[in-house]
């Protein structure tokens, strides 16, 4: 028993020491980053440490993740150049083909966090890696590089279906990728992922997305129309309200439900839209009725008036939805007043 206790105690002591070492590393790496890698000796020490120790790689990843954007652009470029000179970049690229998935993933993330434009080409094959964690690390790394090449790499990954689309959307739905998203949108080879591209455009919040989304909404598949409405709701551009309001007449209830929700997000309060939302209180689908009621509440006084008018409707469902929405609003007003 004494021996076993000693073993556990030694482990504890070793881990305590490792934590001290990690703290010291963090301090050194942080200083190197801030100074653009410092002198040649410091650079060589950093490269040697990161190359030989997985723990050092984790520490460097942590430092880059938290501090990269706080460092001046000039110092970031100096740091990148220093690491290229010191051979770390070449070593990381070489490790993208390592046998151990943990090594591949770490190398990918380090290249991504260093925002090295030349890393996109060697990273792209990892988007199809056999290991799920490596694929996810690669998609994050490419997203961090944030160049047009990176955008195309992610769009191609969407096309191949190597990851769930949402995982790629999380990284490609940015302003820097909009040009590539728009261009891909019109290419035949990407036709089967147009819906996802549309959603990415909506998430990116770029004003140019509206025109692209407006093109899909009347003509796309059901999934595309749902994603379009969702994207337009996120963009919350009131100019798109008439287009989305027209989708309240769609044959598919998920599209109508998303359209109502999007109109709520836009706080659309023009007369025609309010009229359509009021009509939606009698929709056969529960979620459409519920979302229309919420959208009318968001539409201000005109929407509220429509709800109050619906209390006298012949349609039981419309009366019920209106009652619930108004009751909720009344209680919210009471709570606010209190």
């Amino acid at each position: 028993m004494v021996l076993l206790t000693v073993v556990v105690a030694l482990k504890k002591a070793t881990r305590n020491r490792a934590e001290c070492v990690a703290r010291e590393r963090r301090r050194r790496f942080s200083a190197s980053l801030a100074s653009g890698a410092g002198d040649e000796a410091e650079l060589a020490a950093l490269v040697a440490d990161v190359t030989s120790s997985r723990l050092a790689q984790d520490v460097l990843l942590g430092v880059l993740a938290h501090e990269w954007l706080d460092v001046r652009l000039r110092d970031r470029h100096r740091f990148q150049d220093a690491l290229r000179r010191g051979g770390l970049v070449d070593e990381l690229v070489r490790r993208l083909a390592a046998a151990d998935p943990a090594d591949r993933g770490r190398a990918a993330l380090l290249l991504g966090h260093l925002r090295l434009p030349e890393a996109v080409a060697p990273l792209e094959p990892l988007l199809d890696d056999a290991d799920g964690d490596v694929r996810h690390a690669a998609v994050r790394a490419v997203g961090l590089v944030a160049t047009e090449d990176a955008a195309w790499a992610l769009v191609r990954a969407l096309q191949r279906g190597s990851l769930p689309p949402e995982r790629i959307l999380e990284h490609v739905s940015q302003r820097w990728a909009v040009d590539a998203l728009l261009a891909a949108y019109h290419i035949v080879e990407f036709a089967h992922v147009r819906a996802v591209l549309a959603e990415a455009l909506g998430l990116a919040g770029d004003p140019r997305a509206g025109a692209a989304l407006a093109g899909i909404l009347p003509f796309g598949s059901e999934e595309e129309r749902v994603r379009c409405c969702r994207a337009l709701g996120r963009a919350a551009d009131p100019a798109m309200a008439p287009l989305v309001a027209a989708a309240l007449q769609d044959d598919a209830w998920p599209v109508r439900a998303q359209a109502a929700r999007a109109l709520g997000a836009m706080r659309a309060d023009d007369r025609a839209t309010v009229g359509r939302l009021a009509a939606g209180l009698s929709d056969p689908a529960w979620w459409v009725r519920a979302n229309c009621a919420e959208a009318l509440l968001a539409a201000g006084s005109d929407g509220r008036a429509a709800l109050e008018a619906a209390l006298a409707s012949d349609d039981r469902f419309a009366r019920e939805r209106a009652r619930e929405a108004l009751e909720l609003e009344r209680v919210r007003d009471e709570v606010r007043a209190a």
Binding site: L4, R15, R140
Partner: protein, 485 residues
């Protein structure tokens, strides 16, 4: 004749002992390798994106509640504030006799609404559904009393998100636990269930609903349970998960794919161990349909629960767990030894039948036979002592193995004092506790045959934490018995 029969039985016991410990060793080795692999990969996992992305798969947290008036409001508040991009909290008031529902109505400005359930599972009648005027992510269902499993099924019918987890109202979840628990579903969309670690909060210090500092208590009974939990979760479950044979996901903390659970029939309200039974049924459901699926365990996401600090309550808890295990194995006995059910049918279930379910009976018989053999001098004292010493030492090895894994990968118990307490508990566990546990679990067979079936929540006497999670009144030892962990 008697002597030869006893010798045969003792030989069987020796074989049983070695086989059992061989399996334990394999599990610890698999668990160690699983944890090592997890530690290696930890640096490349991006929890930040998951925590901040509106595209992260949303979760419904289903909270069955029965007579929880002192704690329900704060528990719900803590869950609504969980660090997760999109979630809803579905509280199911299971016919509470106290003011649980009224407390929620008052605190969250609930209004009664009509809601059409999104799924159909048989449950006791739902009386009313409420939404909150101030918390759009809160839904409260008031229903007639039907037990915990029945309540969760009712919650499932009204939950709207593709994943759900069930959390006891007095369980504390780590801030990033849901983010860590959802990751397997996002990396491998075929995942249908994922379990996390349940840790014991006794002795730790809380700040609000968060565990600020992890400590061990002075109570040796609780420390023994801490070691037990570490062994079970960090070695056992990691090991089983690694070979795709995870049979149990803790009812206190697990994440499931809602539609798969509904398709499999929801929770079984007629069994005591509804959490274990569900996981086995999910395996069966998916395998019988030839679906590609995963049931996994992740060692990192943590929830905290209070362990029994008295022998009486502990015995009741373990009795209930063992009855649940026996019922589950019996209900799904056709899976045992059948290749169609993969590692579950070929390894996990036979193991649980022979070494877990029947284990207490065999061990008790072994103690008796061994005692008789020693008493009649049919076994030499030296041999007897050597065997007892070997069993003791091996038990220590397994426990210390779990402590090593904990120290290597997680280091939740930072102080040397905690480590020493746990080391001592690992020793003391083998002297009395293990034997008591065997007795209690063996008694479960008797309890099963004599106990009336009723819609039960079980019983747990809460002693409270160092700082309670802001209940209206601090629980005391005289408080009426409440439901079990």
């Amino acid at each position: 004749m008697t002597r030869s029969a006893l010798e045969v039985f003792n030989a069987f016991m020796l074989g049983y002992f070695f086989l059992l410990n061989a399996v334990y060793t394999l599990l610890v080795v698999l668990g160690w390798r699983g944890i090592k692999d997890y530690v290696k990969r930890r640096g490349m996992i991006d929890y930040k994106t998951i925590a901040g992305s509106e595209l992260t798969t949303p979760i419904s947290i289903i909270v069955p509640a029965y007579d929880e008036e002192p704690v329900i409001v704060e528990s719900v508040r803590a869950m609504l504030r969980a660090q997760y991009p999109r979630l809803e909290v579905v509280v199911v008031n299971d016919g509470s006799r106290d003011g649980t529902l009224q407390a929620l109505i008052d605190a969250y400005s609930l209004i009664a609404v009509e809601r059409v359930p999104r799924a159909k599972l048989p449950t006791w009648p739902v009386r009313q559904v409420y939404v909150s005027a101030i918390e759009p992510d809160l839904l409260v269902i008031d229903k007639e009393n039907g037990g915990k499993a029945d309540s969760i099924n009712a919650g499932l019918c009204f939950a709207r998100y593709p994943l759900f987890c069930t959390v006891d109202s007095d369980t504390l979840i780590d801030d990033d636990a849901l983010v860590r628990l959802v990751r397997p579903f996002q990396v491998h969309p075929e995942t249908v269930a994922c379990g996390g670690v349940v840790r014991i909060v006794n002795g730790s210090t809380l700040e609000g609903a968060h565990v600020a500092e992890v400590q061990t208590p002075r109570n040796p009974l609780v420390n023994i349970q801490i070691v037990e939990y570490l062994r079970a979760f960090l070695a056992g479950r990691v090991g089983w998960s690694r070979i795709g044979a995870l049979l149990i996901i803790s009812g206190a903390f697990g994440l499931f794919r809602r539609q798969t659970v509904i398709d499999a029939g929801g929770y079984d309200a007629t069994t005591v161990g509804e959490d274990a039974e569900l996981v086995v049924r999910l395996h069966r459901h998916c395998r019988e349909r030839g679906e590609d699926y995963r049931v996994v365990f992740v060692a990192d996401p943590v929830c905290w629960t209070e362990a029994p600090s008295s022998v009486r309550v502990l015995a009741r808890q373990r009795n209930r767990w063992h009855r649940g295990l026996i019922e589950t194995l019996w209900r799904h006995r056709r899976m045992i030894g059948r290749r169609r059910y993969g590692a579950i049918g070929m390894f996990a279930m036979p193991y649980f039948v022979v070494f877990e379910a029947l284990g207490p009976l065999i061990e008790l018989a072994g103690y008796v036979a061994f005692g008789v053999a020693i008493g009649f001098g049919w076994v030499s004292t030296t041999v007897a002592l050597a065997f007892i010493g070997l069993a003791f030492l091996y038990g220590l090895l397994l426990s210390f193995g779990a402590l090593l894994i904990e120290e290597h990968a997680f280091r939740r118990y930072r102080s040397w004092r905690c480590m020493l307490r746990l080391a001592l508990a690992a020793v003391v566990e083998n002297i009395g506790y293990r034997q008591l546990s065997t007795l209690v679990r063996a008694r479960a067979f008797l309890t099963m045959t004599s106990r009336r079936k009723k819609r039960e929540w079980g019983e747990m006497q809460r002693r409270g934490y160092a700082q309670a999670a802001a209940p209206a009144s601090k629980p005391t030892a005289d408080e009426p018995l409440r439901r079990a962990a």
